[in-house]
Structure formats: C-alpha cells, structure tokens
C-alpha cells in the first residue's frame, strides 16, 4: 500500500519490548476492559501524532489489511 504521509517502514526502536508491554497491558483484563484499554491507547497515540491525514491513512491501512485477512 502506497501512502503519502503515514510511515510504514520499520521505526520501532524496541519492537519486542513494545509488544510485551502491550500484551501486559491486557494481561488481567476482561474482553470488555481490553476494548477500552486499546481505545484509550489509540486516542493517546492519535493525539500525539496529531496530523489528520496520517490518522486517516492509518485507518485506510487497517481496512486494506482487513480485506486480505
């Protein structure tokens, strides 16, 4: 998928650590709590990014990936 602003090249400094932290965030959560936890993280990160075009491209990237799942 070609995007104009969203960066999809590898940029995570510590991918495994991040993955583990994310999984740990959900460790004791029910399914319902997990939905809220993920939502909060999305909003916090989205606000940090700020750029509306980047956010919309990210949503499109998810849709494209969902289509091939």
């Amino acid at each position: 998928m070609v995007t104009t602003k969203l960066r999809l090249d590898p940029r995570l400094k510590n991918p495994d650590e991040f993955y583990k932290a994310l999984a740990d965030l959900h460790a004791d959560a029910s399914v319902e709590q997990s939905l809220v936890i993920n939502a909060k993280l999305v909003f916090i990160l989205a606000n940090h990014i700020g750029d509306h075009d980047v956010l919309m491209e990210a949503i499109e990237a998810v849709k494209a990936n969902e289509a091939i799942a």
Binding site: E32, L35, V36, A39, K40, V42, F43, I44, N47
Partner: protein, 560 residues
C-alpha cells in the same frame, strides 16, 4: 397543557374564497404555522408579497418543543423585525458544562468574543417564538393567517399548485404560484406527493420533564454522562423563561415510555438530580426517540419544503428549528426575485442545493451526538467510555466528548452562487459564509453592522477616506443601485467625523476596527453580500464587470 403559559385561541373565519365561491390565485401559500412557516410568512410579507398561511390548528404549539435559538437564527429574526421581544423574554446563554460521573470535565463558551449584537443562544419556548411571530404578522396587511384550515389534497401543475383545504365550514379550493410546505415532521404535503422520506430511527429513548422551580443554577447548559442520578446514561439541565427548566434523562433503548412518564417515576429522578429538598412542579413530561431523515431534494416543481417537513434530526445540538428558520432565510429572497420576474425559476434549485447541503451537515452532526450517547455496539461503547475516562485526566480528550455540537450557520462551501476569491484574504469571511456582525457608528450613534445588510444585495466598500474614492467609482456604485437587481452600497470608513451619508450611500464608521479585522479589509476592499447576509464575492478593488458577473452568478441569471 402547560401551567406557565396561557394559550390564546385564534379565530377561524371563512376566507373570501369560501364566501364568494371563487378560486383565487395567490403568489405564495404556506402550509404550517410553526416557527418555519411563520418566519416565511413574515419574510415574504416584509418583501411586500401577499402571503396566505394555513394552519390546521388555532393556537401555538403545545408541549415542550424547541427551546434553543442560535445566534444566526436571532440574526434572521432581527432582519425580520421580530427579535426584540424574543431577546427580552429569552434566557441568554453562552456556556456549557460537561460532567462525567461526579465531576465537571469540560466547559465551553460558544461565543468567546465580544462585538456581536446577539449571544450564542437564547432559550425561549417554541410557543413564545410562534406567539411573537404571529403578533408581528398581525400588523402586516399583506399577510393572512387562516386558522383551522387543514390541507387535504394538493395538485401540482406546470404553472401553479392547486390545494384542497378542509375547514369547519367544509372544504374549499385555492391556488398559488408557489407552495411552501412547512407542515412539519408528519407533512401531509410530502405524503400526498408520494415523496420518499428516507432515514433511520434511533431506538434510544429520552425523557423530557420540564419543571417549574425557583433555583439559582446559572443559565448554562449542563450535561452529564453516567451521573449518580442516572447511572450509565446521560442527563441535561437547561433554564427556560418563566422559571421553567428543561430536564432531559436518557432512558436506554428498552425503557417503557408509559411507565417512565408517570409522575411517580419522574419525580424521584428529578429529586435525585437536584436534591431532595428542591421545590418544583412538573410542567410537562414526555418520552421520545429520534428520527434522522431528509428529502433528497427540497424543491418539487412549485412546492418548496422547509423545516421539519424537509429534514428531521435528533435534538442534541439544537439544529432542528434553527435550520428550519435558516431554510426560510435562504429561500425567501430567491422566491421574491423569481416572483418579480427578475431571476429565473432555476434560482430556486439553489435553495434546494444549499439547504440540502446544510441538512446533510446537520444530520451528520446530530447523528454523531446520538451515537456518542448511545453507542451501537461493544466496540463503540469502548471508544466512548475511553474518551470519558481519559477526559478526567487529559485535556486533549475533552473536546471529543459529544453531548451535542451546537447549531452554527452552515457555510455553503462551493455553492454555485458564490464567486471564488482571486485575491488572498485572511480570516473567516469567505464566500458562502454569513457576514459576521460588528459594532459600528452610524450618524454618530453606536449601532450594529448586520442590520444594515439586508433584503437586497449589498456592496460593502472599505475606504480609508471618503474623499479619496474616485468620482468614476461612485458613479458606478450609483448605477448599480439603480439596476434591475439593485446593489445597495455601504461605505465603511474610519474617521470619527464621517457623515452619516456620502453621495447617497450610507456610511458606517468602524470605530473599534472590528469590521476591518473580521473582513480582513484594506483600503478599496469590496464585498458583495446576498440579501440573506451571506457573502457571495469579494475583491481587493471594485471592478464593475466582476461585480455584475458575481451578481449574475448569485441569481442564476445566465441559466436559461
């Protein structure tokens, strides 16, 4: 019926047509005497047009209905000559506060700047708005209200519309060049014409209980998510005139409306919200759910739909009555030009274009608000609750809380009637935007800008000094004021000692610089403004050909 308001019963009198048995052809008939229909009648009558309004009832609206009238609507009422009584009676408010559970998480000021004649909102019961419009209409000989006149059939023809109307004396027929269908959510005209009324129903139920109480709460819109007195749901508190307070409780999708509206079930809710010791009386109770619907086209030949007959939406954001009155603001100047033979019938298509655009925007906003209050599935419930919880700690999340995006005037982006800018301009006054108000001095007295710009096309010329305006330019402005579709020019200048009039043009002194600032005006800047106070074009220098081209465009004069 409400105890705080006394209903006047208007007289039914047989019309001339019923007495003579002769069918008459009227320029405009309006069906529906709500805020939309009545505003249309006032606007048309002010333009000198003969207008007949038919209402199936003989009194103003019953029940607790529209209460929040927005700044743009107040500016329209000002233009119609009806705003003073409304401002005197209405409760002014600008601030809203949002609470989550026990605490306030956000507040907003809808008019955070000075220099406007009207506030962001007034609260005024719909029956008062109707009453004041009717009182004004009764002073206008061109306007006739026919009470207890119920439309039962409509026949659309090429050059007129024929109506069959039922009355206490039996039915009669009448005709009109144009019919304004302002007959509300259950519009019989829409049904009779067989028009698709597409949309959805939101299952969520809400309880309105208007109460009478003397209380010191400020005149602010207070909204709660998940308060202790309505766990997991939302609630609203808002002041109206006559010590009436609007209370709103979200009930959930599965509430039983009959049970919920029983006084013995309502009173405990009110006490839980306001406190055990508060004295109050129930004034009105009803349970409702919302539709979100609109016509695809507000124009069907000679029938023009406005207000709830054209579009229905949830109340959060106060966009229903406000957009109905703003439909009228858009329609009447166009209808006047068409009826006078000065613009082609195609101009009326722009009414539908612009107001369908506005309705789509309003339905989108109000739909988002209901969905935020009543999320449709687990995932969106999680999103909503995430926002509320984040808002407790983080300011960034607070503007995401959606308890209603309050009504503002629609900007007609890319309207076919607008002329795009050639020059660079800062600020908000782009073509398709209604003019901002500003304090000015007129004839040495403090006044307001907007009431000077009304009912005809207006040219606004900014000049550092009146004497520096070239004679040739003044001659051209004079010529424009005498054209078939006249453009009335207003000169805006800064020196305090400017006269009230110069070479036949009104002069406004922009003493506090609000106009120059808001319109990003320099010496020579010229704005062309529509009769509904919307900007249709602007330039850094007056050019007669360009102005005439913009006027042609704004009136669809080149459409055959």
């Amino acid at each position: 019926m409400q105890k705080t308001y006394e209903y006047e019963l208007f007289d039914y009198t047989p019309s001339r047509e019923q007495r003579t048995g002769e069918i008459e052809r009227h320029a405009v008939v309006i069906v529906g005497g709500g805020p939309t229909g009545l505003s249309a009648a006032v606007d048309l009558a002010n333009h000198g047009l003969e207008v007949v309004l038919l209402d199936e009832d003989n009194k103003v609206s019953e029940g607790s209905r529209a209460i929040c009238f927005a700044k743009r609507t107040l500016e329209v009422f000002d233009r119609l000559g009806c705003v003073e009584s409304m401002r005197a009676k209405g409760v002014t408010w600008n601030v809203g506060r949002l609470h989550y559970q026990n605490e306030e998480v956000y507040n907003f000021d809808l008019l955070p700047e000075e220099g406007h004649a009207h506030p962001a909102f007034i609260n005024l019961q719909q029956y008062y708005v109707e009453q004041y419009l009717i009182e004004y209409l009764q002073t206008l000989p061109q306007a006739e209200i026919r009470w207890l006149n119920r439309l039962v059939d409509v026949e659309t023809c090429d050059d007129h519309v024929r109506l069959t109307i039922d009355t206490p004396d039996g039915p009669y027929d009448t005709e009109c060049d144009y019919l304004i269908a302002a007959d509300g959510a259950r519009s019989s005209i829409r049904t009779l014409l067989g028009l698709d009324w597409e949309g959805i129903v939101f299952e969520e139920k809400f309880l309105i209980s208007d109460i009478v109480m003397k209380a010191d709460f400020p005149s602010e819109r207070w909204f709660w998510f998940d308060p202790p007195f309505n766990p997991g749901q939302s609630a609203l508190l808002h002041r109206q005139p006559d010590n009436v307070w609007r209370l709103d409780f979200q009930l959930g999708r599965y509430a039983d409306p009959d049970e919920a509206s029983k006084p013995e079930n309502v009173i405990p809710r009110v006490k839980a919200m306001l406190g055990e010791d508060i004295e109050f009386e129930l004034e009105w109770v009803s349970v409702y759910s919302f539709h979100s619907r609109m016509l695809e086209n507000f124009r069907h030949g000679r029938v023009l739909f406005a207000g709830d007959a054209a579009h229905l939406m949830s109340v959060f954001g106060a966009r229903g009555a406000n957009s109905g009155i703003q439909d009228v603001d858009n329609l009447v100047w166009k209808l006047k030009l068409v009826l006078d033979g000065q613009a082609p019938d195609a101009l009326l298509d722009s009414y539908s274009d612009e107001r369908v655009y506005a309705a789509r925007e309003n339905l989108a906003y109000t739909g988002s608000s209901v969905k935020f209050m009543s999320p449709g599935n687990q995932a969106t419930l999680a999103l909503r609750n995430a926002v509320l919880e984040l808002a407790k700690d983080y300011a960034f999340a607070r503007p995401l809380i959606n308890s209603g995006r309050l009504s503002t005037a629609t900007v007609y982006r890319e309207s076919p009637l607008s002329t795009p800018d050639e020059a660079e301009f800062a600020g908000l006054m782009t073509p398709g935007v209604p003019c901002a108000d500003a304090p000015v001095r007129l004839a040495g007295e403090r006044s307001w800008f907007l009431p000077q710009v009304r009912d005809t096309f207006t040219g606004l010329l900014f000049a550092d000094s009146l004497a520096s305006i070239p004679a040739e330019l003044l001659a051209q402005l004079t010529a424009l004021s005498q054209a078939t579709i006249p453009i009335k020019t207003i000169l805006v200048t800064e020196p305090d000692d400017a006269p009230a009039e110069y070479r036949g043009f009104t002069v406004l002194v922009d003493a506090e610089n609000f106009l120059h600032d808001r319109f990003d005006a320099q010496d020579g800047t010229y704005y062309l403004i529509r009769p509904d106070q919307y900007i249709c074009a602007r330039w850094r220098a007056f050019d007669r050909q360009k102005v005439e081209a913009a006027l042609t465009r704004a009136c669809c004069l080149s459409v055959l």
